[in-house]
């Protein structure tokens, strides 16, 4: 926080503050667009109205299709609650409305966030309408071919009926991913540094890496399953190699592209060989390392789900496979939704780490 402020001041004092002046001049004029409060309130209304319509559809649209609406007993904090899937669906919609309203009110005070919120309003409205149409076409009228296209409430039913089991499978997937990917990153960066720094290692190892690197990791599955002690280790192994090769490749490239002048400058200032690796080559390679981590991450998700589908006793991929056998497509969809959220979240975390680590790069600090 502190450093950020200093940097901002530095940047500001280096350039004339024309922007500030412009802002003031506009404030005295009539507020237009997202600056006006009425406009902003309308946008807020637009944001939530889609979800309100979706609630309306769920409550008042006649249930024509023959879909069993079961009661589920949920108990938490000593209370037991009887819910149908429609109740849960409405609960989710209400939560969305609450979240977006709060976001809207919080961002009202900040110029940039206010602008962004207004921009997102139309999309969020469409999202609500989309849910409503999906509800009508799926659950209410079963207009879409069943059981392949269940409605949103049915997808949520999967969480009601299988909640705990789904959580177990999420944890299984996360464990697999964390073990495999973290090993892959460590090994990848490590070998990448060795390859990039020592010409001998480059000569012997790089061609091997280049050839084996193009083979999708899951192709090794038969070997992994027979040679490794258990299926979990086998899946970890597959994720490790898909992350390892990709990251090593890019790390080596980053190390090798370090300008000669950087090394010379560091040597003259008193750097030892070890110092040149740690304080010159590796920082220089960081952007490439993160490129490697980013693409390895996408491949790791694929490898994870595929190996779960093809021979794991748990995980979201396993859950999808199992649900497919029972033609429970609403559960498949429920697992896909979780994957989307989970993997986006992992990407977000990696993105934040990357942004922080590479804050020295041009265009990363400034918006």
């Amino acid at each position: 926080m502190d450093t950020q402020t200093v940097i901002n001041t530095a940047v500001l004092s280096a350039s004339p503050r024309t922007e500030n002046k412009g802002q003031k001049a506009e404030q005295t004029a009539v507020k237009k667009g997202y600056r006006s409060n009425t406009y902003f309130l309308l946008k807020l209304l637009l944001t939530v109205s889609g979800f309100i319509i979706a609630i309306g559809v769920s409550l008042f649209f006649p249930q024509k299709a023959e879909i069993v609406i079961k009661d589920y007993a949920l108990s938490a904090f000593g209370l037991t609650l009887n819910l149908t899937m429609n109740d849960a669906y409405i609960f989710v919609l209400v939560m969305l409305i609450v979240i977006y309203t709060v976001t809207g009110l919080v961002s009202a005070g900040n110029k940039e966030r206010r602008k962004k919120f207004c921009k997102n309003a139309a999309f969020r409205f469409a999202l609500g309408i989309g849910l409503a149409l999906w509800d009508i076409g799926g659950t209410k009228l079963a207009f879409f071919p069943q059981p392949f296209f269940p409605g949103p409430a049915q997808v949520i039913e999967a969480y009601l009926s299988d909640g705990e089991y789904i959580i177990q499978n999420i944890i299984y997937s996360l464990r697999l991913y964390a073990a495999g990917f973290s090993c892959g990153v460590v090994l990848g960066v490590g070998t990448g540094i060795l390859i990039g720094w020592f010409p001998k290692v480059y000569y012997w190892v790089f061609p091997v890496l280049k050839i084996t690197g193009v083979v999708p990791a899951v192709a090794w599955m038969p070997f992994a399953l027979t040679l490794l002690p258990d299926t979990f280790t086998a899946a970890v192994f597959l994720i490790v190699i898909c992350a390892w090769f990709q990251i090593a490749f890019l790390t080596a490239k980053g190390i090798q592209s370090t300008p000669k002048q950087s090394y010379e400058a560091a040597r003259i200032l008193g750097s030892s060989q070890k110092d040149l690796i740690l304080h010159v080559a590796i920082p220089h390679a960081m952007p490439d390392i993160f490129t490697g981590i980013g693409s390895a991450n996408a491949m790791a998700f694929t490898t994870l789900v595929m190996s779960e589908m093809l021979g794991q006793p748990g995980g979201l991929g396993y859950y999808i496979n199992q649900s497919k056998v029972w033609s429970a497509y609403y559960k498949v969809l429920a697992a896909i939704v979780i994957m989307a959220v989970l993997f986006s979240f992992i990407n977000y975390i990696i993105g934040r780490i990357q942004k922080h680590t590479l804050r020295w790069q041009e265009g990363v600090l400034k918006k």
């Binding site: 530095a10 010379e264 400058a265 003259i268 600090l365």
Partner: protein, 259 residues
């Protein structure tokens, strides 16, 4: 703190990939006195950078010897600072960390921490400690490079066209800054430049080099009193002499002498 540098009979020949060899330096003899401010001038390709790199210990001669305070130069050493033409700051370090790099690398950052702020102020960069190199101007970047070299308290500072990429206002500011630091620290200064005015304004002696093969053709003593005036009669006369020399050496038609 300063040191004397002795260069005797130095040859440096480069052979490129096609087997063509270039005599970058031939038979260089030069004695640089303690605390002297010396400039190397001459057209592109006359071996100025090569000579500076040999003094720095970044390169080795094929023949001849270079010594500093009597001992042979065999590699880089903290008693010789170096300022590159441009782009030598570490982009991943902020200004403060760039300047303190040498202290950290030599393991003395803990004991000499207070020097960092001192050197930042010395080159007038207070308030920019946490900025990154891409956020500052070229002139500021060169001041950082100078402070980064000086914080190791070198006895000799080697500068390879440190102001070559700067506009003329920033350049004359930095020249004054350099003089000020030189007076304060007493460091031996060896400056490579394209700019005749800059050489006369700053140096005790000007070493004129000519290419193919790279050699020293003339050494001029600049015995003008300091502070010098760029428009003074003697100043202009000295400039005329140097230009005349280049014209006779037929090395002049280079657009770099934008005087």
């Amino acid at each position: 703190m300063s040191s004397s540098i002795k260069i005797s009979g130095v040859d440096r020949v480069y052979t490129d990939t096609d087997g063509v060899s270039v005599e970058a330096l031939r038979g260089i003899d030069l004695d640089i006195r303690e605390g002297e401010f010396i400039s190397l001038i001459g057209p592109s390709g006359c071996g100025k950078t090569t000579l500076l790199r040999l003094i720095a210990g970044l390169d080795k001669p094929q023949a001849g010897e270079l010594t500093i305070d009597g001992s042979k130069i065999t590699g880089v050493g903290p008693e010789r600072g170096y300022v590159f033409q441009q782009g030598s700051l570490f982009p991943w370090l902020d200004i403060e960390k760039n300047i303190s790099y040498g202290l950290r690398a030599r393991g003395v950052l803990k004991t000499k921490k207070e020097k960092v702020g001192e050197y930042i102020s010395m080159v007038g960069l207070d308030g920019f400690e946490k900025s990154y190199p891409h956020q500052i101007s070229g002139g500021m970047a060169q001041r950082v490079a100078i402070a980064r070299a000086l914080i190791n308290e070198p006895k000799a500072l080697l500068l390879d066209e440190p102001m070559g990429a700067l506009d003329s206002f920033t350049r004359s500011d930095l020249q004054d800054k350099l003089l000020e630091l030189w007076k304060k620290e007493g460091t031996t200064m060896i400056l490579v430049t394209h700019d005749i005015d800059e050489a006369i304004y700053l140096s005790d002696r000007i070493v004129i080099m000519t290419p193919r093969p790279g050699k020293i053709s003339k050494i001029i003593d600049v015995d003008l009193p300091r502070p010098r005036h760029r428009g003074g009669v003697e100043f202009l006369e000295m400039r005329r002499q140097i230009l005349e020399f280049f014209r006779l050496a037929q090395a002049l038609p280079q657009p770099e002498y934008n005087i």
